[in-house]
Point group: C2
Chain length 296, copies 2
Amino acid sequence: MSITSTVMSAPHVLETGRDVRLYARSHPCPNTSGLAPTYLQANLLILPSKYASDFRLLCARNPVPCPLIAESSAPGKWDSIRSYLPGLDGEAILTDVDMRNDAPKYNVYKDSKLVKFGCSNIMDDWTDDHVAFLIGCSFSFESSLTKAGLPPLHIIMKRNVPMYRTSIPLCPAGVFTGSTFVVSMRPYKASDIPSVRNVTRAFSTTHGEPIAWGWDAVKVLCIEDLDSPQWGDVPITQDGVPLGILSGDDELVPVFWGCGVTPQEAVMRTNLQGVIMAHTPGHMLLLDCKDSEIVA
Amino acid sequence: MSITSTVMSAPHVLETGRDVRLYARSHPCPNTSGLAPTYLQANLLILPSKYASDFRLLCARNPVPCPLIAESSAPGKWDSIRSYLPGLDGEAILTDVDMRNDAPKYNVYKDSKLVKFGCSNIMDDWTDDHVAFLIGCSFSFESSLTKAGLPPLHIIMKRNVPMYRTSIPLCPAGVFTGSTFVVSMRPYKASDIPSVRNVTRAFSTTHGEPIAWGWDAVKVLCIEDLDSPQWGDVPITQDGVPLGILSGDDELVPVFWGCGVTPQEAVMRTNLQGVIMAHTPGHMLLLDCKDSEIVA
């Protein structure tokens, strides 16, 4: 089986969140896992303002897959945000930003159908009525896992994290009904799971501790095939073996976290009218604040 | 089929939350659905302090079934609370209270096993190390439903609301793993569900809008038998027919909300050591603030 990674090389100068934003503004840019370590990364969802109130409620009711960090300071504003993070104002999170251009890749939905995938900016689709929402991303705690001697396998393998649809329902909110959790997956030794839970627990605004783990969890979440993630790369071990062909007797087991792709999935499941935009999964908007600033 | 209600008559003088507390302190008292209308009601969970931090996180990660309103102002404090409700301090929520005695009935768990059911107080079991948590209760929005011309059936029938275990997992938090949502159920006409959702949506600290509705939801939640609730009374229509024997063609369909019995279920599913106490489902602690004070 031949498996190639979707990861391109990033220049070494991208040390800060701002570096990545400015680079992505004018260059093709790889997925952002492992870029500008310790800087927060955010999922983007950009909605017509009539859906903003229901979306805030969706996030409040489902804070693990949809931890709301910030939103546009007013409809139409792509260069300033208001923060929902305690102790950090909008300027501490993000300055010198163009949210229409500073994520490496974007998706565009029209009337809940995907019409553009992986475009480099959304200048033509953004209107004065759009509100951008920033949602926490689990890439933000990967530096802490690495520091604790628990580097995620996809980082070692220079691949994107695998992401899956599940059957776990979101609590509905207004127009947002019938949606389910999306999860990201990082394999670990079963004996490391308590430490993995402990390290990530403090990052409540970037999905926090895992929602499920072990081979049983694959069934509980109704993931059909671990080797066919809906987003990101197929998970492979350091021996080059796809994780999903391992049995329950093997050393590595899958560990699942809430994933900020969930809101995009909610958009697809809901009959929303108009133009909705988002980052392309794995290609996040980098922020100016650091993981140490959000630890609970 | 003979179905009798578990509801006793309550004296008409119980007009305020404080009235109900003082009455329950020294008298047998019925379930609290419909008592002191418009006053907030709270689920109680009382834990050894070593579990308090994980329980706060469980609530933060699962705000729909576990909306945290307040907790003891310090370990061992049964007469004062600190509030988590914006704009309402502990004294606005609850004064002149003995949380060991002012709910109509209590359950006591030892090492996660139920050892006392429906006792009138927990004076003998409370210690200086216990922390009481107050969790929102959906009885709090029933007055608003009634005012909107949508009185819950169990109130009309003078019965307790039916409550069910489901298969929907809670997001784990520390020691609390392997738990699932408990839901309360109120049947409505399918055509009334949009209004029911709208009325209850604003009550985010008392479970907010429903999490699922319709006959399909019974399957999604893995409720085995609608006529065998795990807590509360069997749901019957005004014709005296158990709701569960109706088919999908009938006028009334089940509507499910997150339920504050969820934390008790989480305690039973988790191997916690020591004495844990709670109200008996349906027999809530009445508060001093009103539903209009918590509408978002």
